[in-house]
C-alpha cells in the first residue's frame, strides 16, 4: 500500500512537469553538459556558463550517469555552448530525472516506516483513534510541501539526497553503524551542505562505535576500541578518497574546494532566509532610520540608511558591526557545542541522535553564512522522523514546518503556480496538525480543535500569516500601490515575520533538547 501511495504522489509530481522552473534548471543542464563533454580534470575549471559546477564530485558523477540516457532523448542539451537550452523533451527529461531519483527517498521512507512499526509495537503503544503511524510518516515525508516546491517546481535534486540521509539515519538506528557511516559519507560527497549536520553524526558514531554503554545507557570509558574507530575512519576515508582522489592527484583539490565554498557571496542570500541575520539586518536598518530621523548620525551615514532597496547581495551595515564569514562560523560552532555534548552524554540513543542532528541543522540555518531559505528542509525533514514519539517535538515540528515552508513561498514568485503552492501548503498543514494532534492529544480534551498543541500566542502568530499573505498578494499591489517605490517590502515582511517565529522556535527547541528529559 505504501508503494502505491508513493506512486500516486509521484503522479502529482509528474503533473508539475510544465510548471515554472528557476535558473537551477539551467544549472543542472549545464552540469550535465560539463560532465558529458569535458574530461574529468576540467569539470571544476570550466566557466563557459556562469553556473559553474559547485557540488562535490559524486553528484557530478550522478549527472554524468544522466547524460547516458539524455543522449537518447535530446543530444542538444548536452552541448556546452547551448546555454539556456530548454526544449520540451529536455524539460520532460530533467523533471523525470528528479522524479525517478526520488524513489531512493521513497525506498528509504518505506523502510523507515516498517522499522518504526516494528519498534513502536514492542513499546506497547496504545491503540487510540488515530491514523496508522506508518501512514502518517509516509505522508509527512513523501508529500513534504517544501520538498515539492523546491524539487518539483523550483528544480533541485533534494529528494535523492534526503533519501540517502534517511537511509543513513535508519541504518544507524538499526545499529548498522558502518553502513550508516558509509551512506552519510556518500551524502557529504553529493552535497556539502550536509556538513552542517556532520557534527551530530561524528559524535554519535564515535560514541557508539568506539565505546560501549552500560545497562542505563551511560558510557563506559574503558571500553574504547581502537579497532572499531580505525574501521569507521577507513570507510569514511575511502569514500572521500574515491570522490576527491582524482582531483588530488591532478593537484586541483584547492580549485575544487574553492568552487564548493564560495565565501565571496554575501552574508544573506538575495532573499533573506528567515534567520538570525535577518533580525540583525532589520535591527541595523531600523537603528539607521531612527538615527537619521533624530539627527543623531553624521550626514554621510544617513544617505546609506535612506536607501530602501536594501536587499542587494552585499548589504553594508551602517550602525552594527559588519559580519565576516569567520564570525558566523564561530557563532555556529559555539551554538552547536552544547548540543553535541548533550548527545555524547545522552542515554537515549536513536531519538536523541535525530533531534541533535536537526538541532545542528537549525543552528547552522540561524547563524550560517549565506544561508538559503531552502536549507530549512534540512531541519524539518529529519525532525519528521521523531514527531510521532514526543509531544514537545511534534509541536516544534508543526510550528517550524508552517513557518519554514511558508518562507519558501517567495522562491516560487510566478502567479500561475500560486494556487498550487498555497493549496499544497494548506493540505500539508491541515494534515500534519490533524494527524499529530490526534496522536498526541487525549480524546477527552475537547478545547484544542483549532491548531492543536499550540498556545494562544502561537495560534495568533500562525493566524497572522493569513494577514501577511493577504498584504503581500493584494494590499501591497492593489490597495497601497507601493510596488514601484518599495518593491522589496513584501519579501522583507515575509523574512522578518518568519525570522521572528524561527528564532522563537529555536529557543523552545533548545530548551526541549537540553533540559527536557
Amino acid at each position: 500500500m505504501l508503494w502505491r501511495i508513493s506512486l500516486a504522489i509521484s503522479c502529482v509530481k509528474l503533473l508539475l512537469v510544465y510548471a515554472y522552473h528557476s535558473t537551477d534548471f539551467e544549472v543542472h543542464r549545464n552540469w550535465m553538459a560539463i560532465t558529458n563533454s569535458l574530461p574529468l580534470d576540467e569539470w571544476y575549471i570550466s566557466d563557459i556558463s556562469q553556473w559553474t559546477l559547485d557540488y562535490p564530485p559524486v553528484f557530478a558523477w550522478m549527472e554524468k550517469c544522466f547524460t547516458y540516457v539524455a543522449a537518447f532523448i535530446d543530444p542538444q542539451m548536452l552541448i556546452l555552448d547551448n546555454l539556456n537550452y530548454a526544449s520540451n523533451s529536455t524539460i520532460a527529461f530533467q523533471r523525470l530525472s528528479v522524479i525517478v531519483t526520488d524513489f531512493i527517498l521513497v525506498y528509504a521512507v518505506i523502510e523507515y516506516a516498517k522499522y518504526y512499526k516494528k519498534i513502536s509495537k514492542s513499546s506497547s503503544e496504545s491503540e487510540g483513534n488515530n491514523f496508522d503511524p506508518q501512514l502518517v510518516l509516509t505522508f509527512l515525508l513523501l508529500a513534504n510541501v517544501g520538498l515539492l516546491i523546491v524539487d518539483h517546481i523550483h528544480f533541485q535534486y533534494n529528494g535523492i539526497l534526503f533519501g540517502i540521509l534517511i537511509l543513513s539515519i535508519l541504518r544507524i538506528s538499526q545499529d548498522c553503524l558502518y553502513e550508516g557511516a558509509f551512506w552519510f559519507a556518500l551524502l557529504l560527497n553529493m552535497k556539502h551542505i550536509y556538513l552542517y549536520i556532520a557534527p551530530a553524526f561524528g559524535i554519535y558514531l564515535l560514541r557508539n562505535a568506539c565505546f560501549q554503554s552500560d545497562k542505563d545507557g551511560r558510557i563506559i570509558w574503558t571500553s574504547f576500541s581502537f579497532q572499531r574507530i580505525f574501521f569507521l575512519a577507513s570507510i569514511v576515508a575511502s569514500v572521500f578518497t574515491i570522490s576527491f582522489g582524482p582531483f588530488l592527484l591532478k593537484g586541483q583539490l584547492f580549485q575544487v574546494l574553492g568552487r564548493l565554498f564560495p565565501f565571496k557571496r554575501g552574508l544573506c542570500h538575495a532573499y533573506w532566509a528567515p534567520n538570525f541575520w535577518t533580525l540583525y539586518n532589520v535591527l541595523d536598518k531600523g537603528l539607521a532610520i531612527a538615527g537619521s530621523r533624530l539627527n543623531l548620525l553624521p550626514s554621510n551615514m544617513t544617505s546609506a540608511a535612506a536607501m530602501t532597496g536594501g536587499l542587494v547581495r552585499e548589504y553594508e551595515h551602517s550602525i552594527l558591526p559588519t559580519v565576516k564569514p569567520f564570525h558566523t562560523f564561530l557563532l555556529t560552532a559555539l551554538s552547536m557545542l552544547p548540543l553535541v555534548l548533550r548527545l555524547w552524554f545522552s542515554t537515549k540513543g536513536r531519538n536523541c541522535f535525530v533531534e541533535c542532528l536537526s538541532m545542528c541543522a537549525f543552528c547552522a540555518f540561524l547563524f550560517g553564512w549565506h544561508v538559503h531559505e531552502k536549507a530549512v528542509l534540512l531541519i524539518t525533514i529529519p525532525l519528521t522522523l521523531v514527531v510521532l514519539d514526543e509531544k514537545s517535538w511534534a509541536k516544534i515540528f508543526l510550528l517550524l514546518s508552517f513557518v519554514g515552508h511558508y518562507s519558501l513561498f517567495p522562491l516560487i514568485y510566478t502567479s500561475a503556480e500560486s494556487p498550487f503552492k498555497c493549496g499544497v501548503f494548506l493540505m500539508y498543514t491541515i494534515f500534519s496538525f490533524y494527524s499529530l494532534g490526534k496522536r498526541h492529544l487525549r480524546r477527552t480534551k475537547k478545547d484544542d480543535h483549532f491548531l492543536p498543541l499550540m498556545t494562544v500566542t502561537e495560534k495568533i502568530y500562525l493566524v497572522g500569516f493569513a494577514l501577511l499573505h493577504v498584504y503581500n498578494q493584494l494590499l501591497h499591489h492593489y490597495v497601497f500601490r507601493l510596488n514601484s517605490t518599495l518593491p522589496f517590502l513584501p519579501l522583507l515582511f515575509t523574512s522578518l515575520y518568519c525570522a521572528l517565529g524561527v528564532f522563537y522556535i529555536w529557543i523552545i527547541s533548545l530548551k526541549t533538547f537540553l533540559l527536557n528529559r
Binding site: M1, L7, Q134, L426
Partner: protein, 528 residues
C-alpha cells in the same frame, strides 16, 4: 477541528491542486495559427459578446465572422462569455479588443482563462458533487465511503483534462445537470427541472440527458394523474410552466423576430458539418473502418439514418422509465440515453463522452467496479485529442493517479489504517464478492489493451498510407467497450427491482398501480 471539516477541506484542496497542476499544461491550439483551438473560441466569444449588441451575436456581420469560431452554443454560454468579457476588459482591454485580439496568447491571459474555469467549477460543479454523494446516494451509509466516492468523482481525469487542459466550461453544463438530478432525487422536481433547463441552455449537448429527464418527469405526472386526476394535472402544468418560463427568460433577447430565432437554432444545430469530427469512438466512426459512409451516402441520408437509429434504440430505456419512473432507473436511463446519443447520433465530438461519464459517476456508489472501468475507458477514448493538445503527460499522470486512488482508497489495508477505532464499517470494495474471476480477468485484459494502445499511439510512427491508423484503432477499441457497457447498463436498468431501494415503499405501490393501469388500458383497448 472536527473530523468532517478536515476531511472535506483536504478533499476540496486536493481537487483544486490537481486541477491547477493540469491547468499549467498547454491548451488546445496553443501557438497554432490561423484557427487555434477551443481556447481561442472561448476567448473570441468574449470578444464578440463584449463588443457587439446582443442581436448580432449569432449573426454573420462585418464585425462577426461566423467562419472564425462563430458562437454556436446556446444563450447562457453567450451570457457567461459576456460577463467574462466585461471582467477581462477591466483587467486588460487588449484581451477583448474587436478584431485585433484574435489569436491572442499571453501568460496573464492564460492565467485569467484558467481562473475563470476554476471559479465556475467551484461554484457549480464541486458543491453539486458533494451534495449528491453526501445526501442523495442511498447506497452509502458510512461517511468514509461517501467521502471516498466524492474524491474519486472529483478526480475523474476526463473532465479535468478537457476543462483545465484542452479548455472548455463543461463543468458548468454538467454541474447544472447534476443539480437537476439532485433536485429530482430529493423530490424537488421543479427546482430540478429548472437546473436542467439551465444546463440545456448552457450547452445543447445536454440534449443527451433530456430524454430521461422528460420521461421521468412525465412518468411521474402520469402516475400522480392515475392516483389523483387533479394533482397530476397541477404537477404537469407547474412543470411545463417552469420549463417554458425559464426557457423564454434565457432566450428573451432572441425572441424579437422569427428570423433571429431560426438563425440561433441554425447555429446550434449545424447539420452541414458532417457525420463525425476527427476520430471519435462512436459506431459510425468505427464502422467506417470497414464501410466508408462519408463517401457512399449524402449528408441528408446520413442524418436520417443517424436519427432513426438513435431514436429506435432509445425507445426501450425511455419506455421503461416512462412507465416505471424511479430514481435508480432514472440514473441508469441517463447513462443509456447519453451513451446511445454518443454512439449513434450525428456530428459527435470525442468530448461528448463526458456527457455519458457524468451519470456513470453518479452510479459509483451502486457499482463501483463497472463505473471505474467505464471512466478509465472514456478518458482513454479521448487520448488522440489530448495528444494533439500536448496533454500527453497530463493524461498519463492524471489517469494513473485516478486508478491508484481508486485502488488505494478501497483497499482494506488503507481503510484499516485510517479508521483504526471503528473496525466494523461497511467497506467500499473495488470488486464485489459475487463478481467472478472471469470479470476480473476481462478487466485486466482490457486495461492491458489500453496501456499497449497508449504506448503504440505515443511511441510508434504509423505507416505512411494510414496516418490515422492508431487513433482509429483507439476509437474502435473504446467503441467496442462502450457498446458492451451500453448492453450492460440496459440490462441493469431493465432488471433493477424497485423494491431493492430505500424509497421502495413508494415505488412498489406505484408499480402495482402501474400494473393495474396497464390491465385497465388493455381492457379499454379490447372494449374499443
Amino acid at each position: 477541528m472536527k473530523n468532517v471539516t478536515v476531511h472535506l477541506s483536504l478533499i476540496i484542496l486536493f481537487a483544486i491542486v490537481i486541477r491547477w497542476t493540469i491547468s499549467l499544461h498547454p491548451y488546445s491550439g496553443a501557438g497554432k495559427p490561423p484557427m487555434f483551438g477551443d481556447y481561442e473560441a472561448q476567448r473570441h466569444w468574449m470578444e464578440i459578446t463584449y463588443n457587439l449588441p446582443v442581436g448580432d451575436w449569432y449573426q454573420n456581420t462585418t464585425d462577426n465572422d461566423l467562419q472564425y469560431w462563430g458562437l454556436d452554443y446556446p444563450p447562457l454560454t453567450a451570457y457567461h462569455s459576456w460577463a467574462l468579457g466585461i471582467v477581462s476588459h477591466s483587467l486588460n482591454s487588449s484581451w477583448v479588443e474587436l478584431h485585433k485580439s484574435r489569436g491572442l496568447e499571453s501568460y496573464d491571459h492564460k492565467l485569467f482563462m484558467r481562473y475563470s474555469v476554476l471559479v465556475v467549477d467551484l461554484i457549480v460543479y464541486l458543491p453539486a458533487v458533494f451534495v449528491y454523494f453526501l445526501f442523495c446516494s442511498p447506497g452509502l451509509h458510512d461517511q468514509y465511503s461517501q467521502l471516498v466516492v466524492c474524491t474519486v468523482a472529483l478526480l475523474y481525469p476526463g473532465l479535468m483534462l478537457i476543462d483545465y487542459g484542452h479548455f472548455q466550461y463543461n463543468c458548468v453544463s454538467l454541474g447544472f445537470a447534476l443539480w437537476g438530478v439532485i433536485g429530482l432525487c430529493k423530490g424537488h422536481d421543479l427546482l430540478g427541472s429548472l437546473a436542467f433547463v439551465l444546463a440545456l441552455n448552457y450547452k445543447q449537448m445536454e440534449l443527451y440527458h433530456a430524454v430521461p429527464f422528460f420521461c421521468y418527469l412525465l412518468g411521474k405526472c402520469i402516475s400522480h394523474f392515475r392516483k389523483n386526476y387533479h394533482e397530476g394535472m397541477v404537477k404537469f402544468v407547474k412543470l411545463s410552466a417552469v420549463v417554458l418560463a425559464s426557457f423564454s427568460i434565457c432566450w428573451l433577447p432572441f425572441l424579437q423576430s422569427r428570423e433571429q430565432l431560426t438563425q440561433v437554432l441554425h447555429r446550434l444545430f449545424p447539420f452541414a458539418r458532417g457525420l463525425f469530427e476527427d476520430k471519435v469512438a462512436n459506431v459510425w466512426c468505427s464502422l467506417s473502418l470497414v464501410v466508408k459512409f462519408k463517401q457512399i451516402l449524402s449528408i441528408s441520408a446520413l442524418t436520417k439514418i443517424c436519427l432513426t437509429t438513435t431514436l429506435l434504440l432509445i425507445i426501450p430505456s425511455s419506455l421503461d422509465l416512462l412507465f416505471r419512473p424511479s430514481i435508480p432507473k432514472f440514473k441508469l436511463a441517463l447513462v443509456n440515453s447519453s451513451l446511445i446519443f454518443f454512439l449513434f447520433s450525428f456530428q459527435v465530438h470525442e468530448k461528448s463522452i463526458l456527457l455519458a461519464a457524468l451519470p456513470v459517476l453518479l452510479l459509483l456508489p451502486e457499482n463501483f467496479f463497472a463505473c471505474i472501468w467505464f471512466l478509465l475507458i472514456s478518458t482513454f477514448s479521448m487520448l488522440p485529442l489530448l495528444v494533439n493538445d500536448g496533454l500527453t503527460i497530463a493524461f498519463l499522470a492524471s489517469t494513473l493517479l485516478f486508478y491508484l486512488l481508486c485502488d488505494i482508497l478501497t483497499c482494506v489495508e488503507f481503510q484499516q489504517s485510517v479508521n483504526r477505532c471503528n473496525q466494523n464499517i461497511t467497506r467500499l470494495k473495488f470488486f464485489l464478492e459475487k463478481q467472478s474471476q472471469m470479470l476480473f480477468a476481462a478487466f485486466i485484459v482490457s486495461i492491458t489493451g489500453m496501456v499497449i494502445l497508449t504506448f503504440v499511439l505515443l511511441a510508434i510512427r504509423p505507416p505512411e498510407r494510414y496516418p490515422d491508423l492508431f487513433p482509429v484503432i483507439v476509437s474502435a477499441y473504446s467503441c467496442a467497450h462502450f457498446l458492451m457497457f451500453l448492453v450492460y447498463f440496459h440490462w441493469c436498468q431493465l432488471t433493477i427491482s424497485p423494491s431493492s431501494f430505500l424509497s421502495s415503499s413508494n415505488d412498489r405501490t406505484e408499480s402495482i398501480q402501474d400494473n393495474l393501469s396497464v390491465k385497465r388500458q388493455h381492457k379499454k383497448l379490447k372494449s374499443n
